[in-house]
């Protein structure tokens, strides 16, 4: 049993932390409040140049070959400073990894280096639809072969980074007659393809600098070679890749939760009421003890899931456990952090208000925590039913 990070992982954590403190933290509040996403896009470019867009991607495709544990600790450090930047980095890594896992050599060479280098600010993962959220196999977007082209029709919803993504991984029904989930395929669609329309951007509670848009396919024609992986194997690909993405989102949640608790704890040692520091009240001490214990447990669950993935072991159950627990621990930590700051915690003069809004989505996207529980219990019950 060895619970320490390697020297390389520590250095990556330090680099992420230093970058986050120096470049991300100073613009996070402004990105949350304003309409100008410029500073985030500039930081994404710098993060790409440092190698943060393909942590678990091969050198041959421009990745860092740093592994999944390094990905997790990097996400946490980035999210401590700016959750919007963090979710973009997480999705970019997931897009690189799905292409690396199932793309052809040509597809890998065409797209992964562009995301890793920052030539593309982002890649998008386009699975969800209005009628297909927790149940993505219920999607209705279709792809039909017409000569040597696929024609896509339909619409995706809630697609992270859509307005500045260079490439979209898109799922569509290719066999309507097949049993549910057996007739879906995965495609690569380049930004700017005629018929690919970036729809309305959602007004959200938090993570404001990260765009979330509808993406419409109106007789969108893509080459036959844009099919990724095997025909009708797309749903399996989505399920497999979301496991890795969950490690990213859990780590992101952990970062926001830690940022909130660190801020609130420091505040509690400075704020006095009734002639003493509020950190002297047991009610405050228990919030600190409970929150840091939960966040530490979350960290260990995430490290375990990341380590299993890195070792090539099954990790879907562990990733779901970690995502579910970490994001709920983060939300509780943010709730307590606001409480510890009293009225000040509810104002935009203090960052815990933003942390609380940014953390909220983490128990919803990349599979709601209800769905994580479905996955975890299914994996466990497998071993009990006859």
């Amino acid at each position: 049993m060895f619970l320490d990070l390697t020297e390389e992982q520590k250095l990556i954590q330090d680099t992420a932390q230093e970058f986050a403190r120096a470049e991300l933290e100073p613009v996070a509040a402004q990105l949350d409040q304003g309409d100008d996403r410029g500073p985030m896009l500039a930081n994404l470019k710098k993060l790409a140049e440092l190698g943060f867009m393909g942590l678990n991607v091969k050198d041959a495709y421009g990745g860092s070959e740093a592994g999944v544990v390094a990905f997790s600790v990097a996400m946490t450090e980035i999210a401590r400073a700016c959750a919007s930047t963090a979710v973009t980095v997480s999705v970019n890594n997931m897009v690189c990894e799905v292409i690396q896992a199932v793309g052809s050599e040509e597809q890998k060479k065409a797209y992964i280096p562009k995301i890793c280098s920052g030539e593309y600010a982002a890649g998008s993962f386009a699975l969800t639809e209005t009628g297909a959220g927790s149940d993505p196999a219920g999607m209705t977007t279709t792809a039909a072969l017409d000569g040597d082209q696929w024609v896509l029709n339909g619409a995706k919803l809630f697609i992270t980074s859509a307005p500045y993504a260079g490439v979209f991984v898109v799922w569509a029904v290719t066999d309507r007659e097949a049993p549910k989930g057996k007739g879906i395929s995965c495609f690569l669609v380049e930004a700017g393809t005629p018929g690919l329309i970036i729809g309305k951007e959602e007004g959200k509670m938090g993570q404001h600098a990260s765009a979330t848009n509808e993406v419409i396919f109106d007789k969108c024609r893509i080459p036959k070679g844009a099919l990724m992986g095997k025909l009708n194997d797309g749903f399996r690909i989505a399920v497999a890749e979301l496991g890795g993405g969950r490690i990213g989102i859990g780590s992101l949640g952990l970062g926001v939760g830690l940022a909130a608790m660190d801020y609130a704890t420091r505040y509690a040692t400075e704020r006095s009421q009734f002639g003493q520091k509020i950190s002297d009240f047991q009610a405050i001490q228990w919030k600190i003890a409970d929150s840091y214990t939960e966040l530490e447990a979350a960290r260990l669950l995430l490290m375990n899931a990341a380590f299993r993935k890195e070792q090539g072991k099954p990790f879907a159950k562990e990733a779901s456990m970690a995502k579910m627990y970490a994001t709920e621990a983060a939300n509780r930590a943010c709730y307590h952090a606001v409480q510890m700051l009293g009225g000040y915690g509810y104002t935009q003069d203090y960052p815990v208000e933003r942390y609380a809004r940014d953390a909220r989505i983490t128990s919803i996207y990349e599979g709601t925590n209800e769905i994580q529980r479905v996955i975890v219990s299914r994996e466990i019950l497998k071993n009990f039913s006859s």
Binding site: E7, E8, L11, L50
Partner: protein, 258 residues
């Protein structure tokens, strides 16, 4: 050209420091360590010089300390140094600057380094002696507190920070030692691929006993936190009166209005 960069690993300066059991240094067990900030400028300048000379110089980075200093060495290697030297010493804090400088000089003797970069001082001890002592022991030219560096035609041109905001410019022939001040350059972040590739670079390990032949000339008698300051001054009165009081204090006790 052969370049040596000397780096130290120091605690994160945002840590809370407590005296250790012997009361002569701080307790290290709970602290996170990182490369001394001044040394980051030294590494960056050495790597920039290597780049300026199309990669010709070999840059060696050296650190004295326990196993944890390997992380600082790895960072320097990831930033672009070519090879590392780890002088293994479980307790470098018990050695004085003279001994530390003698260890570095002993290693450097005969290696034929043309240029040695060090930080101006360490963030924890802050003696600012090691660089100059190394220069003295090796018989090298030396310039301290660099805020500007250039190299051409075999000469180093160093912009030095002097007292009271004055700068001085000196030229040095090689071999030379220079010590780097904050603001000399902007140290690069190591890229992740370079962090991973640094694994493959050589790090030579030498037990400190092989290089240490000097007795200490200074000893730390006591390490203690400063006395708690009083509560400060609270001014009272109406605004006009407050301004007058504040003006008086600024004028008498500070240089702000001079």
């Amino acid at each position: 050209m052969k370049i040596l960069v000397c780096i130290k690993q120091v605690p994160d300066m945002e840590s809370r420091f407590r005296p250790n059991a012997s009361g002569t240094w701080f307790e290290e067990s709970d602290l996170a360590f990182r490369m001394n900030e001044y040394d980051e400028y030294a590494v960056e300048q050495a790597v920039q010089l290597k780049e300026q000379l199309a990669g010709e110089p070999e840059v060696t980075v050296l650190s004295i300390g326990p196993d944890r200093v390997n992380e600082a060495l790895k960072k320097a290697l990831a930033m672009g140094c070519d090879r590392g030297v780890h002088i293994q010493d479980p307790a470098p804090q018990d050695k004085d600057p003279w001994q530390i400088a003698s260890i570095i000089a002993q290693f450097a003797q005969g290696e034929g380094f043309d240029l040695v970069f060090t930080g101006m001082q360490s963030q924890d001890r802050g003696s600012a002696q090691v660089g100059v002592l190394v220069a003295e022991l090796l018989g090298y030219a030396c310039a301290t507190t660099l805020v500007g560096f250039s190299f051409s035609d075999g000469l180093v041109t160093a912009r030095r920070e002097l007292e009271g905001g004055i700068k001085g410019v000196v030229k040095l022939g090689l071999p030379a030692v220079v010590t780097c001040q904050l603001g000399l350059n902007t140290p690069r972040y190591p890229t992740l691929p370079n962090i991973m590739k640094a694994k493959k670079k050589d790090v030579l390990t030498i037990p400190v006993a092989d290089l240490l032949h000097e007795e200490a000339v200074a000893a730390t008698a006591r390490f203690y936190p400063p006395e708690k300051k009083g509560g400060g001054i609270v001014l009272e009165g109406d605004v006009g009166n407050l301004v007058e009081q504040l003006y008086g204090i600024l004028k008498e006790k500070t240089t702000v209005l001079r």
